[in-house]
């Protein structure tokens, strides 16, 4: 019985998928003439080699946990937020603008920036919801278009006089120190990491809050009922349209906060993009690895963060950073087809009995 439970657990298949992803990545590395052992050694060393590295990993993970939560929350409530990318961008832009323009005392300034970012993401997603509910336009289509609108809007705003950095360069001014989410100077010194910030703590709090909303509250009940079966929910007296809007709004707000965490915690400004940055799309990966479980998003977010941060050091051993994308892509494919493995293993397990 115990063995069977392990065979049915989705965690097992996630781990299998990750292992297969690495094996395939190794094949690619080997075919490019790079020793997988050296490359993966560097990857592991790059993440775990020093305490500082591990903190950087969490810094990289924080925005990904938020976009992961955003997508996971939408999936649990029956919509698919493929627009976390755009909500992330408007959130980042809103936080950045507030961080530059507003003059507020520390802490309060940062809180205001995060809230404005959440609101921006909320509205960006809510608009798509309105198109869906009032006009019947499929959310996936509008989300993709809204991603591009956000992308160009951000590039436009970066170059406006108020925000653009004086002199050359294609970035905004730095946000004021009062708006930053960085840990106090002393802690940064002690940690020997100048990027350590509150983002990761915020992400954990957000994950727990989302888990509580989904599992414990009447709001979660309502959103899930509509997500699973709109007709039955309507029959039961739930206003399905309003629920969809709420779900999309919350999902968008999460991605928006992710953008704020990125700007206020890490980069301190926004550069003009050449292409979509991908935090929102990476959020889809994070959510899928987590099986749409908010708490799971913390771990899958850290995993992706580690891959990104450690992967950025692969060039030091002559390995292309892109191998990370190959590995993550394979992981997703194998998670997607994990039910096939599940059937297979259960069958083998049964035969052995």
């Amino acid at each position: 019985m115990k063995k069977r439970r392990i065979l049915e657990s989705s965690v097992l298949y996630t781990i299998i998928a990750i292992v297969i992803g690495f094996v395939i990545g190794a094949l690619f590395l080997a075919s490019a003439g790079i020793s997988p052992a050296v490359a993966y050694g560097k990857l592991i060393d790059g993440v775990f080699g020093k305490p500082k590295f591990m903190i950087w990993t969490l810094v990289y993970a924080s925005p990904l946990i938020f976009t992961g939560l955003s997508v996971a929350f939408s999936l649990r409530t029956g919509v698919f937020n493929i627009g976390a990318e755009g909500q992330f961008v408007v959130g980042a832009m809103a936080a950045c603008a507030c961080g530059i323009i507003l003059k507020l005392p520390p802490v309060i300034h940062a809180i205001v920036c995060v809230l404005v970012a959440a609101l921006a993401g909320f509205i960006w997603s809510y608009l798509v919801g309105i198109l869906k509910v009032k006009r019947g336009i499929h959310e996936v289509l509008s989300f993709i278009m809204f991603n591009w609108i956000a992308f160009y809007l951000s590039n436009f705003l970066v170059n406006t006089e108020t925000l653009h950095k004086e002199g050359s360069g294609e970035a905004t001014k730095n946000v004021l120190d009062s708006a930053r989410l960085l840990f106090p100077e002393g802690i940064l010194k002690a940690l020997n990491c100048n990027g350590a910030n509150w983002g990761f703590i915020l992400a954990i709090v957000a994950a727990i809050v989302m888990w509580i909303i989904i599992e414990k509250t009447t709001l979660g009940y309502k959103l899930k009922a509509v997500g699973f079966n709109k007709d039955a929910a309507t029959f039961g007296g739930i206003n399905a349209d309003r629920s969809i809007l709420t779900a999309l709004g919350i999902s968008g707000a999460l991605a928006g906060i992710g953008g704020a965490v990125q700007v206020l915690g890490m980069s301190g400004r926004i550069s003009q993009f050449a292409g979509q940055e991908g935090y929102g799309f990476e959020g889809i990966t994070v959510a899928l690895i987590a099986g749409s479980n908010p708490i799971g998003c913390i771990f899958s977010g850290i995993f992706y963060g580690a891959m990104k941060y450690g992967g950025s050091k692969l060039t030091m051993v002559g390995a292309p950073e892109e191998v990370i994308d190959i590995i993550m892509g394979c992981v997703i494919i194998f998670i997607a087809i994990s039910s096939v493995f599940k059937e297979m293993f259960l069958k083998i397990g049964k035969k052995n009995q």
Binding site: K216, T218, L219, F228, N229, A232, G237
Partner: protein, 513 residues
């Protein structure tokens, strides 16, 4: 009914011996025997979840038995897939049709076994063969019609033709009458006769006793996965069959004390509505339901009853008219408003409207009450209260298996899903209960149970509106029967005076004398 038996007792076609099928620790079939002769109609009778479908899935190759032997024409056989079974002449007509709507009848029948001429499909030969089969068994099917344009009864004939086309000599019909009108059922019975006259054997899965006595030679009864008996249908009556199936005596007659109807609870006046094509489906319908009475709405499917109920429960908007509950206007109100005004309802489609199948049973039990005490406190769900509530209702309404409060409703059998809905709606304690086909697909034990609760609501002086395509059900339960035809009430009969012939006449559009 003038039925002629074509059973040839000297020729055994199928013998299933000591069939055992286990799923994990659960034994779905526990040493079941089944012998089917040439030309026989053999009914398999059992409650929901008794193991009928499992047995048939073993016979048609979908499941492999854990132990036991199947013999076909005296020879041991093993089926590894449904294809093996159909190749040996055993074909199953499933309850839910598997047809491609935009394809023609012929296309659907030949799908997967298309006759070819060179590289192209030889549609001409196929069409002729379909037509020939249809004529042989008097099925009156148009081989060129598209599935989406033909009635449910005709679609079923296409399914039957599909297995005949593949050369089946044994046809398994799974709940074949579940979605048919009385006329279509009669047509089906004729076709069964024609098939047996031609030497085919029919295995009929059903829990409608009347159909068994009207159509079958023998009947095998299964109860909780165990073989009970095989009887000659001519030698038993419906009560015997029911008792064997349920394991106790079943009361068919609905006991109802005489009582006067009270004040008007539901008052519908001049309702007009259009269906999705913009065709007028209700044109000026009037209806009243009073306290302490069950009003049966009789009618052939498609005459506006579905739309009427959707309007009453807030799922559909009407064009014009008046709807009042105890004097309160609920015309074109939302589902929540109609519920709060006093309408509780058992919906026609339990999986679409009745339940969130992915939700646990306990969550489904509170669908209309999840925001109220004691289930919610300050926006948080009180799991303990929800579980206790569900446990109480599942005990009272005999939802099986017990102890599944936290399991998804999708894992329950159809009958038990219906019990979850009934438990929820009846305990709502509303002034009006609307029940649409409340016993569809249920076995006699469950039907008796549902009927008992409907009558109990009436006896508690609530108003009950019963919409059903089962005329028997309407006649045995209703204090007053209203006949709906073409979007209007065309006749009204007191329940105790009701006569099947007269109702049939009214339902077909006849005028009341």
């Amino acid at each position: 009914m003038g039925r002629v038996s074509h059973m040839d007792e000297s020729t055994v076609v199928i013998a299933m011996k000591d069939i055992v099928k286990k799923f994990g620790d659960f034994t779905a079939n526990d040493h079941i025997n089944l012998t089917v002769h040439k030309g026989e109609v053999h009914a398999i009778l059992g409650e929901n979840g008794a193991g009928k479908s499992t047995l048939m899935n073993v016979l048609c190759g979908l499941y492999k038995p854990t132990s036991g032997q199947i013999q076909l024409n005296g020879k041991d056989v093993t089926f590894n897939s449904p294809k093996d079974a159909i190749d040996m002449g055993i074909g199953m007509v499933h309850q839910h049709f598997m047809l491609i709507q935009p394809f023609t009848v012929t296309d659907n029948i030949i799908l997967g076994v298309e006759p070819t001429k060179g590289l192209t499909v030889d549609k001409k030969t196929a069409r002729e063969k379909v037509l020939e089969l249809s004529e042989r068994y008097n099925m009156k099917i148009d081989p060129d019609a598209k599935i989406e344009d033909i009635s449910v009864g005709m679609q079923q004939r296409v399914e039957i033709l599909k297995v005949l086309y593949r050369g089946a000599d044994v046809l398994i019909l799974d709940e074949p009458t579940a979605s048919l009108t009385p006329q279509e059922i009669e047509g089906l019975m004729e076709i069964i006769q024609n098939l047996t006259a031609d030497g085919k054997s029919i295995i009929l899965i059903t829990h409608k006793l009347k159909e068994i006595t009207a159509s079958s030679d023998q009947c095998t009864i299964i109860r909780q996965g165990k073989y009970i008996d095989t009887v000659k249908v001519a030698e038993v009556n419906e009560n015997d069959l029911a008792a064997m199936m349920v394991g106790r005596d079943v009361n068919f007659k609905v006991e109802k004390k005489e009582q006067e109807a009270g004040e008007v609870v539901l008052d519908v006046k001049g309702i007009r509505a259009k269906d999705y094509r913009g065709v007028e489906i209700l044109n000026g319908l009037n209806l009243q339901v009073r306290r302490g009475e069950i009003v049966g709405l009789a009618g052939v499917d498609g005459n506006g009853q579905t739309e009427l109920v959707e309007i009453l429960t807030g799922l559909r908007k009407a064009e014009a008219g008046e709807v009042k509950i105890l004097g309160k206007d609920v015309f074109n109100a939302t589902p929540k408003q109609t519920f709060e005004a006093g309408i509780s309802s058992i919906p026609a489609d339990r999986q679409k409207h009745g339940l969130v199948l992915e939700f646990s049973n306990e969550d489904n039990m509170i669908l209309q009450h999840f925001e109220e005490a004691p289930f919610a406190k300050k926006g948080f769900l009180d799991r303990k209260a929800i579980r206790e509530h569900a446990a109480k209702l599942m005990e009272k309404f005999d939802v099986r298996p017990r102890g599944t409060e936290g399991a998804p409703s999708a894992t329950l059998s159809g009958g038990n899903q219906q019990k979850v809905i009934i438990a929820r709606e009846v305990t709502n304690d509303k002034d009006l209960l609307i029940a649409v086909n409340p016993t569809r697909g249920l076995d006699v034990g469950a039907i008796e149970f549902v009927h008992k609760y409907l009558v109990e609501q009436r006896n508690k002086n609530r108003a009950v509106l019963l919409v059903s395509f089962e005329l028997d059900e309407i006649m045995s339960l209703s204090d007053r029967i209203e006949v709906i035809f073409d979007g209007q009430i065309t006749g009204s009969v007191a329940g105790k005076d009701a006569d099947e012939k007269e109702l049939g006449y009214l339902m077909a559009g006849g005028k009341q004398a």
